[in-house]
Amino acid sequence: MDPLHQFTVETIVPLAIGGVDISFSNSALWMLLAVAAVFGIMELGLRGARLVPGRLQSLIEALYSFVVKTAKDNAGPQGRPFVPFILTLFTFILAGNLLGILPGSFTFTSHLVVTMALAMLVFVVTTAIGFARHGMAYFGIFFPPGAPKWMAPVLIPIEIMSFVARPIGLAVRLFANMMAGHTMLKVFAGFSVMAIEAVGLAGGLALAIGPVAVNVALTGFEALVAVLQAYVFMVLTCLYLRDALEMHH
């Protein structure tokens, strides 16, 4: 009945390399399931791909075009080569969020380590691209163009702080949304069980309908949040990428 129990990482197959525990856990299982789901649906849709697409093929082409367009709109025309990276991020997070709604599943995006690792990946990749493209001039992003020179002592620390806060915001936003939603689901599910325990089966079932109805609505809301948060992660990644590619735009 602990609503946080769902977040426990449970070992399935114990594994260790050089004394470091890398056991295959429920988290690892659902990560691989997310990969399998994304790749499987893609391949299924592209099997016997035709010039005039079928339903699933249209869906996959629409998803691809959507990511290409999002990258173009937010990362600029130079963002085109990064579409595979952006699409992988989007679909991986989306699959993780959506699969996490299934009862009994594990939501790997509800763990701050995971979202922080993804956010750091984005941070490191975009920063590396920035320095690769612009060299030392990339430090210029810490000073907005056109601002008066004497503002530098104020602006530069603020800009540095907002730059460093990027991965933290990215990671916490996804983690908090996923964890909160899933906790809510389990809390309301717990109310149903409590009602039956308190009043007995007959009266308890009648009482339990309320929390069940709330849970139905919450599940729908969770699906929305799952898609929205994956999208937000993708869009912000694109925006950071644009900063790296074009500096001031």
Binding site: F7, D21, A28, V35, F39, Y64, H111, A176, A180
Partner: protein, 154 residues
């Protein structure tokens, strides 16, 4: 940077605080259990890397090829249609020209036939008239001789 917020975040914060205050069976939040970090990071690297490899090497090039092939087909079909349209236009113009020419010829022929027919009718009429006149003259001459001879016998 704008922060995107969903209304669930404050509720969640409340829920987490409330749950944290409640007697927890486990030792705190599972998310804060550092001992699970290495395995999560390891499998995240594996699965994300795997998905990136599959997407960038296998799936997306196919989707890309598919879409560009379709675009090329549509473009070439449009071009072909445009070419055929132009050809049809030229052919229509040629037909128009030939019809006009044929009409011209027909008119000329009709005119010629008309003139010719009139001429022949005139000739025929003249001939007939001449014939009639001659015959009339002959018959009236006969009549006269007949009359004369009749009166002579009386």
């Amino acid at each position: 940077m704008k922060t995107l917020r969903t209304p669930i975040a404050p509720i969640a914060a409340g829920a987490i605080v409330a749950l944290g205050a409640a007697p927890a069976q486990a030792a705190g939040l599972p998310q804060l259990d550092i001992s699970t970090f290495p395995t999560q990071l390891f499998w995240l690297t594996v699965s994300f890397g795997l998905l990136y490899g599959l997407m960038s090497r296998v799936t997306l090039p196919r989707v890309d090829r598919l879409i560009s092939e379709r675009d090329a087909t549509v473009a070439s079909n449009l071009e072909e249609a445009e070419r055929l349209r132009r050809e049809a236009k030229i052919m229509a113009a040629q037909c128009e020209q030939r019809i006009a020419k044929a009409r011209h010829q027909a008119e000329a022929m009709a005119e010629a036939t008309h003139v010719d027919g009139e001429e022949r009718i005139r000739v025929a009429l003249a001939a007939a008239a001449a014939r009639n006149t001659a015959a009339g003259r002959a018959s009236s001459a006969n009549d006269r001789t007949a009359a004369l001879s009749l009166s002579a016998t009386r």
